[in-house]
């Protein structure tokens, strides 16, 4: 039979265990709204029981318990959900990045509207029609020049906006690279702290929550694989890339002596296309490797650079085909209607297309008639202007114009005006632009749709995660009440034992 003092000990242990449990509960409540926090529970277990050999009996009715202790404080977390969340985060990041820029491109094109390029193209051809019926009026010629100028200004402005979007994307990628490197450094530090705590035999719950949160954030930027190592350490491996020797590229290593890589980004470094180049370079002096993340925002932003280039290319094709077709019919090599405003680059692009300054200065120099030159054309002959107006419905090889291999001109023997024959594989200029806008719209719509789907998916995963790890205040409150009562009961036992001791000490001997 144990003594009263041992009973006191049991109660003290009980109080201390309940107090720890209350501490954990209060920590949970305090962190109810902390991002990435997983609720923790204090696991209680009985202390080692005490066998009671006595002088007169070696056989005891049973072992006597010695109280309670907190065996561990654990966080409640489903690491499989983490894995899923990170995979979906990657896809969401990718399409969010795309959508962000595609919507911007869409804003640049501003279609369908009555102020965009497609309307202006129509107005240019209309003005040629009007010129064809009254070529003797300088006003109708001025309208042609001004409408054409409005079109070229709009094309120039769209092109420049796309160019600045490309610069913006460089800026965003650079920002992301800085963020990613900072996250990786934080992860590295956390990893070491976690290993140290684990080696000391404790559970670094809050540090692990922090590490998981950082990994979640990292997963929206790029794709990676987590490799668990000893003492709760984690190695992070970049996916979709190998180093110069074909080995894995690690971003974070548990073993601090192993080399780890960091990202770097150089805008416009690609020699063929002028896209930015993302590279991974390790800290052990290895050579840098080019890197395109498999998923994540970085991938989205990088792929969008190519999209912007595509759309610039299509604007260029459009500008060039309008210029080439009008110039061909205008048929004046010394006084072409559309010229490049950039003296260094004679090839017409959307960025440099402009109406010849000579024609802007003297609108009467437009050759509207059938004569070989403006001077040869009769005052009211608008046949050449009519031929240009009719280009509206001619199917040009707009798609192939960049090659410079397409032949546009075919001289109609009955008049001196060159005519352009429709190509069965071609498109009208307005049709080509509509097509471009259509393609862009479909791409944007797809990015938006996938992003929305990912949102739904992620929110359901997040719900599952919160369901497992989230703090429920009601639950914590009811736990708190239990712990409080247990604490009070233990205290009651102490005061009871105190009374008993009083009986023994003060009551037995009067």
């Amino acid at each position: 039979m144990s003594g009263l003092f041992s009973t006191l000990n049991v109660s003290v242990r009980g109080m201390s265990a309940q107090q720890t449990a209350i501490d954990v509960t209060s920590h949970n409540i305090a962190n109810a709204n902390t991002d990435g926090y997983s609720r923790q529970t204090a696991t209680m277990e009985t202390t080692t029981p005490f066998g009671m050999p006595t002088m007169n009996s070696t056989v005891s009715p049973g072992q006597l318990g010695t109280g309670v202790q907190i065996s561990s404080i654990t966080r409640i977390r489903d690491s499989y959900l983490d894995y899923q969340v990170r995979a979906e985060n990657g896809t969401k990041g990718l399409y969010d990045g795309k959508e962000e820029f595609l919507s911007e491109i869409q804003t640049v094109f501003n279609e369908p509207s009555d102020t965009g390029v497609s309307t202006l193209i129509g107005k240019v051809y209309d003005s040629w029609q009007a010129l064809s019926t009254s070529p003797e009026l300088s006003s109708s010629r001025t309208v042609v020049v001004q409408q054409s100028k409005a079109l070229t200004d709009q094309l120039n402005s769209n092109y420049n906006q796309l160019e600045s979007l490309k610069t913006d994307s460089d800026g965003v990628i650079k920002q992301d690279v800085t963020d990613v490197n900072s996250i990786l450094n934080q992860l590295n530090d956390l990893n070491q702290q976690i290993i140290t705590v684990n080696v000391g035999g404790n559970k670094p719950n809050d540090l692990m929550d922090k590490r998981d949160l950082l990994e979640d954030q990292l997963s929206t930027k790029l794709g990676f694989t987590v490799v668990k190592t000893a003492y709760g350490g984690e190695d992070i491996k970049a996916t979709g890339v190998t180093d110069a020797n074909g080995g894995d590229v690690y971003l974070v290593k548990s073993n601090t002596t192993d080399p780890v890589s960091r990202l770097s980004y150089t805008a416009g470094a690609d020699t063929t296309d002028g896209y930015g180049v993302l590279q991974l370079k390790d800290n052990a002096g290895g050579s840098a490797v080019d890197y395109t993340p498999a998923t994540g925002e970085l991938n989205g932003y990088m792929s969008v650079q190519k999209d912007i280039d595509d759309y610039e290319g299509q604007l260029n094709n459009l500008a060039k085909s309008i210029a080439v077709s009008v110039n061909t019919v205008q048929d004046d090599t010394t006084n072409a209607f559309f010229v490049s405003s950039d003296s260094a680059q004679t090839e017409i692009t959307a960025g440099n297309i402009s109406v010849n300054q000579t024609i802007q200065d003297d609108v009467m120099s437009i050759n509207a008639g059938a004569g070989a030159t403006t001077a040869d054309s009769e005052a009211t002959d608008g046949s050449r202007a009519l031929a240009i107006a009719q280009l509206r419905n001619v199917k040009l090889n707009v798609q192939g114009i960049a090659d410079g291999t397409e032949s546009y001109s075919e001289t109609d023997p009955s008049t001196k005006i060159p005519t352009i024959t429709s190509s069965s594989a071609g498109m009208t200029t307005a049709g080509y632009f509509t097509d471009t806008v259509n393609k862009l719209a479909i791409q944007t719509q797809e990015a938006k749709r996938i992003s929305t789907n990912q949102d739904t998916l992620l929110s359901s995963l997040e719900t599952s995660r919160t369901s497992t790890s989230g703090v429920s205040l009601d639950e914590e409150m009811s736990n708190l009440i239990q712990f409080q009562h247990a604490y009070q009961a233990n205290a009651k036992i102490i005061s009871t034992v105190d009374e008993l001791l009083d009986v023994i000490i003060n009551g037995l001997k009067k």
Partner: protein
């Protein structure tokens, strides 16, 4: 499944966001009256809308072309009518020239009148419309004819012969359809291809020579000249009149063609506008219903969530 307070709050926030998004979409649609505000809202519809806008725009230009061409043709018709009137008067005078009782004085009076008529013809052929001489061909800023008094004090009609004076003007009236619409002064004066009768072809084939011949013949009071007046010249003026009539009927046919082109154009425009409207515009009733539904859902979610999110065990401890 374990439900926590944060889940409730998160769900509410997400659903509220969805509801507000729906409301915002419907609000934009209702306030703009358009189903599509960005191409990515519905790419297929957007490209169709752009196509129709472009077609309507082109069609409007064709309409303008048709209207101005119709005016031109009306003007041409009036002018040709006047030419016909003058020719009729000349014909009357020629017929009366055959009257045996007419002496030199009468013929001289006739000559004076015809000289006047020559000047009038020249004026008619120089009709100017909208800054252009309608019988001037592609040289529309140069007078196609002139009249001058010669040493016999006869008025002579002359073609100025500007380089483009015989050229045709054409206009596009609908996609790919171009029409020549002008009559040149040469078309009017050169009546060679229109014999007065099959058996009695005109020997003089242009108006200038015919009028000169008439005034010369009227000036010389001989029986030979009188015969010429009543034969060759009369035949000639008849052939000229036939030619003018032929030109007028051509112009009339073109006017008809323009009228039908215009009505086709207007029909097309109406059709395309209808298609555009059904593609682009919202159905107000439908949207109003959708708006009412969306608003009800939003209000319901606010009401429920406000009640669900508020209480906790703490209220009862």
């Amino acid at each position: 499944m374990r439900i926590t307070n944060k889940m409730l709050a998160n769900n509410f926030l997400r659903d509220m966001n969805t509801n507000l998004n729906n409301l915002s979409t419907i609000q934009t649609q209702l306030s703009t009256g358009k189903q599509i505000n960005k191409a990515s809202d519905d790419p297929a519809k957007a490209s169709k809308i752009m196509q129709i806008y472009s077609d309507i725009d082109a069609n409007k230009q064709y309409n303008t072309n048709i209207t101005s061409t119709t005016n031109w043709l009306d003007m041409t018709d009036t002018a040709l009518g006047q030419v016909g009137d003058v020719a009729t008067r000349i014909q009357e005078l020629l017929v009366s020239a055959g009257n045996a009782g007419y002496g030199a004085d009468e013929k001289s009076a006739m000559k004076d009148e015809i000289n006047q008529k020559v000047g009038e013809l020249s004026q008619i052929l120089n009709t100017n419309f909208d800054g252009k001489y309608i019988f001037g061909g592609t040289s529309g800023t140069t007078k196609p004819t002139s009249s001058a008094v010669d040493e016999d004090s006869n008025t002579q009609l002359a073609l100025t012969g500007a380089p483009g004076s015989t050229s045709k003007l054409s206009v596009e009236v609908s996609q790919g359809v171009t029409m020549g619409y002008n009559v040149t002064a040469t078309d009017v004066t050169d009546f060679a291809k229109a014999p007065a009768t099959e058996t009695d072809p005109a020997t003089i084939t242009d108006l200038k020579s015919l009028l000169a011949d008439i005034t010369t013949n009227l000036g010389t009071d001989t029986s030979d000249s009188t015969t010429k007046l009543t034969n060759t010249d009369l035949t000639g003026i008849k052939a000229f009149m036939t030619n003018v009539l032929k030109l007028r009927s051509e112009v009339g046919a073109k006017q008809n063609a323009m009228t039908s082109a215009q009505s086709r154009n207007v029909d097309q425009n109406t059709n395309m506008t209808t298609i555009l409207s059904t593609t682009e515009d919202i159905d107000i009733t439908q949207k109003a219903m959708e708006y009412a539904t969306a608003q009800t859902v939003y209000t319901a979610s606010l009401q429920t969530s406000a009640k669900v999110l508020q209480p906790s065990l703490l209220d009862y401890l």
